[in-house]
């Protein structure tokens, strides 16, 4: 099941040229970019790992794309996203955020029903990937490298 999170998520995955164009758009507006990665695909997972610090003072998309590629090389089988922050509001505001890499195989989610008091049923979403310990979640599909 293909995860849809962030901007452009209903489109086919962006090519590097398209990613470059988006970065150029962000830099034109003075939004610093940062790269993050995770192996927990849950939509409420706000805490992705940072790949280095946010990149300030960059003039050219090549610099940001370079970091994306470095991150891809280190974690070829995890989710990687690019964020652009708009600092003009005086607080950290994500202006643009989209996935630039996803695992080759995404097992998707199941719904767990839980009966609670008074015949109420609570439903929660459970990513199959979380059944395995961190670091091995996407290991079983061709790519041996793990974080």
């Amino acid at each position: 099941m293909r995860i849809t999170q962030g901007t452009f998520s209903y489109l086919p995955d962006l090519t590097d040229d398209e990613i470059s164009a988006q970065i150029a758009y962000a830099l034109e507006h003075g939004w610093p970019c940062s790269v993050e990665f995770t192996d927990d695909p849950h939509p409420r997972n706000d805490y992705w790992e940072m790949w280095g610090l946010p990149m300030f003072d960059m003039a050219d998309p090549a610099a940001v794309l370079y970091e994306i590629n470095e991150c891809r090389r280190a974690y070829p089988n995890l989710y990687i996203r690019l964020n652009a922050y708009d600092a003009s509001y005086g607080r950290q505001t994500t202006a643009l955020s989209f996935i630039v890499q996803r695992p080759a195989e995404e097992p998707g989610f199941r719904l767990d029903r839980e009966e609670t008091s008074d015949r109420r049923v609570r439903v929660r979403m459970h990513p199959y990937a979380l059944d395995r310990p961190q670091g091995e979640r996407y290991a079983g599909n061709g790519h041996a490298e793990t974080p």
């Binding site: 901007t7 452009f8 209903y10 489109l11 962006l14 090519t15 590097d16 040229d17 398209e18 470059s20 164009a21 988006q22 758009y25 280095g52 990149m55 003072d57 960059m58 003039a59 050219d60 998309p61 090549a62 610099a63 940001v64 370079y66 970091e67």
Partner: protein
């Protein structure tokens, strides 16, 4: 749905189409030729060189270089050659002739004050206009900006600088300080290795210019042969003659809104000749300093004299403003 995807995606959609048709991802020529069809021209088509040249607006920069910088004939010639090459390469690519991107990493050697930094700024603008680099900014750094203070500090620091310079020109002043022969555990070596790697692998993204004094640069290259071979253009900045220094001085004075009294012109020339033989002579920079000091003396002379002053008094430098210099007393 179609409307929605068209909404945010149009610019990027266009961009990908252009560069994929061009064959080279994110190539600047794709940007420059955005208005035209990217299909190669017929083999027997003709392109008007002159109009192409006008379109690139490279001549403005070249003429600016000619007008604003006195002397430096070998430097100007080389930069003209580079501009011609890039222009011709651009037209070759219009015919679909694939040629490798020329390597434009450079080394500027010369005495202090011969205009290395000034030329680098102009070069960045020129390369940008000719579509070789995407942004045309100059990032000027020294050893301090590249080399860290403890283990593991250097690589991120160097990479940070390199990323900031991408799309433009990285100017490393006094590059020989990167390598300290006397200390083999110096972190400068690590910085050089990263630099070499990026110079080789990301030639499309930035141009590296190393600058420094001739003799020390030579010994730097002798101990880093890899660096020397990756730099295609070694440009030597000659020292200025007295006549050229005088012309530079007049140019500076004009820009600052001063004129020389007719009697001051020979004094100024005499000053420059004497100053040349002094130690620590730094060409144009020494001329600038001399003018700064003359301005100080001019101002205090006016204040000491008192009385009403007009525009001529405020803008004219008298022989005394230069004759008071230490240079004249040292000789006697």
């Amino acid at each position: 749905m179609s409307e929605r995807s068209g909404f945010g995606m149009r610019p990027s959609g266009n961009g990908s189409h252009e560069s994929s048709a061009d064959g080279s991802p994110a190539s600047p020529s794709a940007e420059a030729d955005a208005g035209e069809p990217l299909r190669p021209l017929d083999p027997d088509a003709r392109i008007d060189l002159a109009s192409e040249r006008r379109e690139s607006q490279a001549d403005e920069v070249l003429d600016g270089l000619e007008a604003d910088l006195v002397g430096l004939a070998p430097v100007k010639t080389r930069i003209r050659e580079i501009a011609a090459l890039l222009l011709v390469d651009r037209m070759r690519s219009r015919f679909g002739i694939v040629s490798g991107r020329p390597s434009l990493h450079m080394c500027f050697t010369g005495s202090p004050g011969t205009g290395k930094t000034t030329v680098a700024v102009r070069l960045a603008e020129l390369l940008h206009r000719l579509g070789y680099i995407r942004k045309g900014h100059l990032v000027s750094v020294t050893r301090d900006d590249l080399v860290g203070q403890y283990v593991g500090h250097t690589a991120p620091k160097t990479k940070e600088v390199l990323k900031r310079a991408m799309g433009g020109v990285l100017f490393i002043d006094e590059a020989y300080y990167l390598y300290r022969a006397e200390n083999e555990r110096d972190y400068g070596q690590e910085s050089i290795e990263i630099l070499l790697q990026v110079m080789e692998n990301q030639r499309d993204d930035l141009v590296v210019v190393l600058a420094g004094y001739k003799d020390r640069m030579d010994s730097f290259f002798a101990s880093n042969p890899g660096m020397s071979s990756r730099i295609a253009h070694h440009i030597d900045f000659p020292d200025y003659t007295t006549g050229e220094l005088e012309a530079i001085g007049h140019l500076m004075l004009e820009r600052e809104g001063y004129t020389l009294d007719p009697g001051t012109v020979p004094v100024f020339r005499d000053y420059l000749e004497r100053r040349r033989d002094q130690p620590r002579f730094a060409n144009a920079r020494s001329v600038r300093n001399a003018i700064e000091r003359a301005r100080l003396r001019h101002a205090s002379r006016l204040l000491a004299a008192g009385g009403p002053v007009g525009r001529p008094e405020l803008t004219t430098l008298k022989p005394d403003d230069f004759l008071a210099s230490r240079v004249f007393t040292l000789r006697q």
